[in-house]
Amino acid sequence: MSANLAAFLYLVSGILFILALRGLSHPTTSRQGNIFGMVGMGIAIVTTLAVARPSAGGLGLIVLGLALGGAVGATIARRIQMTKMPQLVAAFHSLVGLAAVMVAAAALYAPENFGIGTVGAIHAQALVEMSLGVAIGAITFTGSVIAFLKLDGRMSGKPILLPMRHAVNAGLGIALVVLVVMLVATQSHAAFWLIVALSLVLGVLIIVPIGGADMPVVVSMLNSYSGWAAAGIGFTLGNLALIVTGALVGSSGAILSYIMCKGMNRSFLSVILGGFGGESAVAGDDGVERTVKQGSAEDAAYLMANAQKVIIVPGYGMAVAQAQHALREMADKLKGKGVEVKYAIHPVAGRMPGHMNVLLAEAQVPYDEVFELEDINSEFSQADVAYVIGANDVTNPAARDDKSSPIYGMPILEVDKARTCLFVKRSLGSGYAGIDNTLFYKDGTMMLLGDAKKMTEDIVKALDE
């Protein structure tokens, strides 16, 4: 295949990736977009094969590798529960990081294959790019593994604050720079593997002090970094598909981190510095005695059956309890009784962007019943019932009213404007931000304490009676 044709095809595949993301601007075009993405990947692979023209043995290995990886990937994709998406993305992400490390290692041992020199005489520019790529890849790998463990609950979500961590990290960073210089000067393989080792350690150290709930921001951040790293490799290989993809992935990660930080009203730096947001915090107990109106599933069923308009506000607790199917059943029952039902989604409800939307979609809630904050916030004042299920921070009026609150300024869903506000959660404890919610003690609020799924199922039963 001619070099020009190959470059052109890589460009085509980059453009197909752009169209893949573009498709996501609306659910109806999204499936087509995904297909564009697959075709783009296919073109990139076939083009590379046509260029590299592998030997029969090489081709065998390639087919084997693709089949092996493909089978594993397909199985995971088919089996995974939708509530586990945050973990899955983190896990997949760690694989990309490790793959980048492996590609860099292969380039070190067979630079001729990549046209960057010969063993022991690799071009300096390529070595610098390579070591940057490998460092970011390794950090992404261990960082994403930790993020996965925290998100999956296999490791405590509590921030682990090591003593002197900033000094240690800075020291590691300096050591890395020294090693890169050494690598370029001596072409020593030892220096390369030391870079890998230190970066792996650094990945762990950077992520452990960050609380479990902050992991989505971290995952997005790592995603963004790995995009820039891919673009860097694209420069080395002169590959347009990699350059374009790198820029896309880099932008996407950066924008999603920005959206999350803005939604949480925190600076990106404060997230990265860590020490915030561990396990669900303890009940806010500040000594003042406050009364709470508690209700039963029957009370809730009665209230909603007699309402004209119910707005459902799902949050992280719905995901934990896997309550989305029961919720949809409840909504169907209410609609059957002539009640108007809508869903209101806060931009940072749950633990990753769009988290609630996927779960509701999984439970077959039509996307045109699901509204974003700006589109529905004005409707709460006309609603009879706001059914808040497993959400907490995103409804906390402190963000609106209390200037001293750490979440002051974050936009909230104004459920307190509804006639009655039903709160489904297991306790009076706080949510991700660890801040007491004064709504629990308000007049119009009725607490439905219990597991979100169990409680919703009970309401469905009560509606039947």
Binding site: A20, L24, P54, M85, V96, A99, V249, S252
Partner: protein, 138 residues
């Protein structure tokens, strides 16, 4: 090879420069000066500049395209960017395809398997998710 091209480019540029100097002294040598003009506007540019242009424009496109993603599809966005970021497989294919040192092939093979997990896993889980988004049937 890279540096070879650059060197050639620089050489050609130098020749053009010499031409310009001559042209300044003798206006009859316009052809040489023209060679410079074109040299500077198209003849002998380091591919790096082009790649930089492509990179910068792709960042603009990325910025706009990601902001235009509807928030309801932010989770699929994360999984699909994950999937496309495995174009790094291109590097793995080069390592495995052209067999050289045994170690490099080994590393390449591992990279290939990992990237393949991502490619298939990422696109399939995305399409599984996207298939769930349905409109109200009327």
């Amino acid at each position: 090879m890279e540096t070879g091209t650059v060197e050639q480019a620089l050489e050609r540029l130098e020749r053009a420069m010499a031409g310009l100097r001559a042209a300044l002294e003798d206006t009859q040598m316009a052809e040489a000066a023209g060679a410079l003009a074109h040299g500077a506007t198209g003849g002998a540019i380091d591919p790096f500049v082009f790649r930089l242009a492509i990179f910068v424009l792709a960042i603009f496109v990325g910025y706009y395209v990601v902001w235009s993603v509807t928030p309801a599809l932010h989770t699929p966005l994360m999984s699909v960017t994950n999937a496309i970021s495995s174009v790094i497989v291109v590097g793995a294919l080069l390592a495995v395809g052209i067999s050289a040192s045994g170690l490099a092939t080994g590393f390449g093979f591992v990279a290939l398997v990992l990237a393949a997990v991502n490619i298939f896993g990422g696109f399939l889980v995305t399409s599984r998710m996207l298939a769930m988004y349905k409109k109200k049937d009327k």
